[in-house]
């Protein structure tokens, strides 16, 4: 009868720490592509507003845009068609 092997995880965060630089670079690349796709209005505020915030865990980065009307441009409204920039880029990275 084969004996069971026992493993003890000594550093649960190790995989995430190892992936962190790659994920950070990926987030930066996505942010740049999203900004390039974002419609430029008179001020360019929306396109310039894309930011990356480091999440609470390693290898977790949040791409967001604090411009108040960003969601309306991305998703559209009842009176305005959507001009999505984040969605298509993320969809491309899901391939």
């Amino acid at each position: 009868m084969a004996s069971l092997s026992r493993y003890k995880i000594t550093h649960p965060q190790a995989p995430r720490l190892a992936a962190d630089p790659l994920i950070a670079e990926l987030a930066s690349r996505i942010r740049d592509q999203v900004a390039a796709r974002t419609p430029h209005g008179a001020t360019g505020q929306l396109a310039a507003g894309w930011q990356i915030t480091k999440g609470r865990a390693p290898a977790l980065y949040i791409i967001h845009n604090p411009t108040p009307y960003a969601a309306y441009v991305e998703y559209g409204t009842a009176n305005m068609p959507a001009e999505p920039s984040l969605g298509p880029v993320v969809a491309g990275y899901r391939r």
Binding site: A78, G87, A91, R95
Partner: protein
């Protein structure tokens, strides 16, 4: 040498045909890209559910979610739904005037029916109709 042209079915119209059964709903495709299989295309679809109240909009969004998840079981003469995945929402996103709205985004992968009038899959061209034996 020329690559075969694979005519894709109109998934956006098919999705609209299904979700328009729910009042106050709009849908559109905002991205499409080829899968690793050249005859499969992944469509990104956004569906908005609006109503007079937040609860009613939420209920409609849930109906839409169930319709979307059931798409592979709906007979479709022009294509085959191979995959459905919710990628965002449904989440609360009221219109600027405060009008209640729930928004969701889905990834739907589809391909033409083999040897259909809208497209031919390359394997069908090479090996004859799939699942058919004329001998």
């Amino acid at each position: 040498m020329t690559a075969p042209v694979i005519t894709q079915p109109d998934l956006e119209a098919f999705v609209w045909q299904q979700v328009s059964q729910v009042a106050g709903v709009t849908s559109f495709s905002y991205a499409a890209s080829m899968d690793h299989l050249p005859w499969v295309v992944a469509h990104s679809i956004q569906v908005d559910a609006r109503a007079k109240t937040k609860q009613a909009a939420s209920d409609r969004a849930e109906q839409v979610r169930q319709i979307m998840w059931g798409l592979p079981q709906v007979p479709w003469a022009n294509g085959v739904i191979a995959y459905v995945q919710a990628v965002e929402g449904p989440f609360w996103l009221p219109d600027p005037d405060g009008g209640p709205r729930y928004t969701a985004r889905y990834e739907v992968r589809c391909h033409p029916v083999p040897s259909s009038s809208t497209g031919r899959m390359p394997l069908a061209d090479a090996a004859g109709p799939i699942g058919r034996n004329d001998s």
